[in-house]
Amino acid sequence: MKYQLRALIAEITHRCPLHCVYCSNPLEMQQRSAELSTEDWIGIFRQAGEMGALQLHLTGGEPLARADLADLVRAGRAAGLYLNLITSGVGLDERRLDELIGVGLDHIQLSFQDVAEASANEFAGTRSHALKLRVAKMVRQRRVGFTLNIVVHRRNLDRLEEMIALAAESGAQRVEIAHVQYYGWALRNRDALLPARDQVQRSIEIVETARQRLQGRLRIDFVLPDYYAKYPKPCMNGWGHQQMLIDPSGRALPCHAAGALPGMEFSNATERPLRWIWEDSPAFNRFRDESWMPEPCRTCDRRARDFGGCRCQAFLLTGDAAATDPVCTLAPTHQLVENAVQHANNGSAGEESWSAAWVYRTDPAPAEKITLREA
């Protein structure tokens, strides 16, 4: 097998106390009743370890919403995997944190929505910012890897300097400043989220200055919005090249968003061996090599570097998952992205009353009361 599984991303639940306007979960989420059992997950982790995977990212929804999280961490470590918890921090107290570290948690990635409390709570659709600050303090008092993840966009990018200061004070070793990517919920809210060109330009300068100032204290990883790139991102480092995502119901996907692609049959890890899904399933092989590529990708010098970009973005914007990612300036459909960028740079671009226009991520729990506000 030419492609080695490196990382397993386990979306162990879609339940989440946050309702972020750019959530990377699919629009149609898995209900609690469909979630895999502890034993199912343990079997999946063991198989991933046997296949030579190195890392296990436990994510959600909010992974802390599962009462068996410590058992899952322990099982992942027993399978030889590096254990990363991707969390909002909601549901974490000192006792639970100690328990997770005690059973082998290697690293915590704590998300922040902003540095300004009111805005952070607005983007998250819930009052969670103050709690996150307390969780950061708890984490830094313990010996565990610690990364802050701050999602940036049009409405908070101008506070980037303060965000980096927050990260530096938090005691984290590393901060990921990641632009919203426009799938699912974020695509619905794109007009409100896509930054203007001068905001992006300024953010690059701020990050460069901060990197020099904080060298040796804080690593800064910075993800630019691909709408402003000349060429597309090498999404997931290639479809089925290194990573596999298992959704709460056991469905195995090449990435977070692939479940929305039409005409694809994604196997369930409770029904098929993980190795078969990785090596032989039609879905994981669909965009793996270069045979699917249209022009201009097929003859492009960059095809081994960016793999034609993102299949999900191609589908969401053009309706065809096998099209060149329209982010690419060479793509025949690039105008679609250009239009969105022009809109974002068009004077005020309707800055008034955003909060009335957000579409908030809903929760899969049927009992949850949700106010869905359409733009």
Partner: protein, 93 residues
């Protein structure tokens, strides 16, 4: 920055550890992925255990690799250690 004092105690930063899976190549697992350790690098990282100073690590290596030039062991170990420190993987106590 690349001149580490020999009395500094060395240890891996939180979130960084050697891979323990049997049969796996020599990897240092870190939050962003893994670093492949070549040649004596694995032994050096193993010796950065939060107990030994850089000087003691070099002494230990000189014993294990007797016959090698101690000056060279010293230089190359200090370089590896400084590189891992810059990467945020190794802490000085």
């Amino acid at each position: 920055m690349s001149d580490v004092a020999p009395d500094r105690i060395l240890r891996l930063a939180p979130g960084c550890r050697l891979s323990s899976a049997p049969g796996q190549e020599d990897l240092l697992l870190i939050p962003e992925g893994a670093l492949r350790l070549k040649g004596p690098a694995r032994v050096i990282v193993e010796l950065c255990d939060g107990q030994r100073t850089l000087g003691q690590v070099v002494e230990e290596l000189a014993q294990r690799y007797s016959g090698q030039d101690v000056g060279r062991i010293q230089t190359e170990t200090a370089e590896l250690v400084a590189g891992l420190h810059r990467r945020g993987v190794l802490e000085y106590g």
